[in-house]
Symmetry: C2
Subunit: 338 residues, 2 copies
């Protein structure tokens, strides 16, 4: 088969690889229907994460089950499945508490930007759609595999609920889908922090009521002004830098909640600042699996259209362009079809 | 009147001061029945916080209302009252949400280690006991003013509840009362981290089921061993240093809760570590006022005896010894009677 391998910063190759096979009796092999490039893939692409040896890329996927291991019971060949980027058994104490991304047997799913993919712990990781979906639902379902689930987790971690004022820091796909999640969860006011017109438009489409263009201290001052000097009830942090985290913490009111889902890079949170802020802070790798059944339901009932974040649709063989377009901010998110 | 003033590190003086008077119509003046030395006072005493000009000390107090401003309606002269170290109006949006230490009108109460004390925002800050209590309840009620309320908040912030495993980092008065709070809130297992025999005894008396003497990585490894490799559901951090905070974060399971109430000093929390941990983090200045009515009720019904943390009982004039004894860890907490 053919798949995507990163060899060095900005060196993405679509090359011939060995077909994946069942390794453990809990594995499934899926024929990938669609995959995409994640904001977190760009940390490698840009050389911010060290790459070391050539690595298969991709962790977002939907597809048709091709083959299952002897112990797999909940998905069967021919079914259309959506899975999370962390394989989880969904039965351990941590999973049962709803924190599947911290599963005691968790392992990353890797190499999804390919024709075929091995998914470990298939019973715990994959959720089958009620039927093989029509083509136009594929991007929506693919979004559930990571960015929608992550944005949704950000909103849940930020304790978004009816009547609340929500700030979203970050206008990438995750931030935009954090807006969608906040809207679905009943927020009264959703302030998207974005200075990019096409992203602002999508944010409004997903339910943002206000846009703030300023960043850093100016952005925080604007939020304060809009919230009677109190700050927001809930803030979703969807970038992962020091600046974005401090902007998020400073945008929340005393007693408010910050849900952080931007993969942390070089952040250092000053304890005194956090102490004085009186906020709740929760985040980390999103427990997408927990939300998948609900999100798939909302998608097949056509209540939400998270697939709108894909503004570039390419054959998988053009994966390198998918990375480049996101890196240069020509695209919000690149969908790839094998 | 006489009161306590810090002039320089380790220079605590009991000296003549002007009698406090009503400044705002929302003030009350109370005749202090008992006050005490806080662990956080030691940050000044040890010269870790800069002192600058001489400062009246003390923020924990119970006493009899002597005089009230024209707008005070909920407490009256002659009543025995307990108040928090942060004055709050108890009516603003932040207070109504239960976060009185972040009240939009909050101001610190200062100078409580004295014969008389001015308490701002008396209606929002003070809670009257049902009657003037017998002498033996005074230490318990005094504890509610800060250390009990703070330990209780730590337990609430750590989401302590029935059946949970709780770790308490810090064996000062706040940590010990965090143990008491965890016990009252129904925790199944309470692991106190302490290497001081008299404190271990008090921890057990308050409900600790286990003691861990190791600190840092060794302490964390011991907790892991005791919790099937998962870590605790809830961790109360009651010290405020870098080491104690990281020990707390590392002792919690993925998806667990850390409630931090030790006043932060020089901490820097690495974002990557926090991201990977998957924990909930909440803390800061305790919203003691929120818990006061409940805690006073438990005390007058003699359900809890938080006053046991006072193992030194001195006339207020010997306040300097009260500081020295705590600084040298000869005492857990010094009670002072004017």
């Amino acid at each position: 088969m053919y798949g995507t391998v990163i060899h060095a910063p900005r060196d993405i190759r679509f090359e011939e690889l060995e077909d994946p096979g069942i390794v453990e009796p809990t594995d499934a092999i899926i024929r990938v229907s669609a995959t995409c490039v994640c904001g977190s893939d760009l940390w490698n692409y840009r050389g911010i994460n060290e790459i070391g040896h050539p690595r298969p890329m991709g962790h977002e996927y939907v597809g048709i089950v091709e083959e299952v291991g002897a112990e797999v019971t909940t998905v069967a060949p021919g079914e259309f499945v959506i899975g999370s980027f962390f394989a989880s058994d969904n039965t351990c104490e941590i999973c049962r508490a709803g924190y599947q991304s911290g599963c005691v047997h968790s392992e990353p799913v890797q190499g999804a930007q390919a024709e075929y993919l091995r998914v470990p712990l298939a019973d715990g990781t994959l959720v089958a759609a009620p039927e093989v979906p029509p083509d136009d639902l594929v991007p929506d379902l693919l979004a559930a595999s990571d960015v929608l689930g992550t944005g949704w987790f950000g909103a849940v971690a930020a304790d978004v609920g009816p009547g609340k004022t929500v700030v979203v820091v970050g206008d990438g796909a995750v931030g935009l889908l954090g807006v969608l999640a906040a809207h679905q969860l009943g927020a009264a006011r959703i302030i998207a922090m974005s200075r990019h017109e096409p992203r602002q438009r999508l944010a409004r489409d997903f339910g943002a009521t206000d846009i703030v263009e300023e960043r850093g201290d100016e952005g925080v001052a604007h939020i304060e002004e809009m919230t009677d000097g109190l700050g927001a009830h809930s803030v979703i942090e969807a970038v992962g830098t020091q600046e974005s985290m401090m902007q998020a913490i400073s945008s929340a009111r005393f007693g408010g909640h910050v849900g952080f889902v931007g993969v942390s890079h070089g952040q250092s949170i000053p304890g005194e600042r956090l102490f004085r802020s009186g906020i709740h802070l929760h985040g980390g790798p999103a427990r997408v699996r927990r939300f998948l059944p609900d999100l798939i339901g909302q998608i097949v009932e056509r209540k939400i259209h998270p697939g709108k974040v894909f503004d570039l649709d390419l054959p998988l063989s053009e994966v390198a362009e998918g990375y480049a377009a996101m890196d240069e901010r020509r695209a919000i998110k690149s969908l790839l079809r094998p």
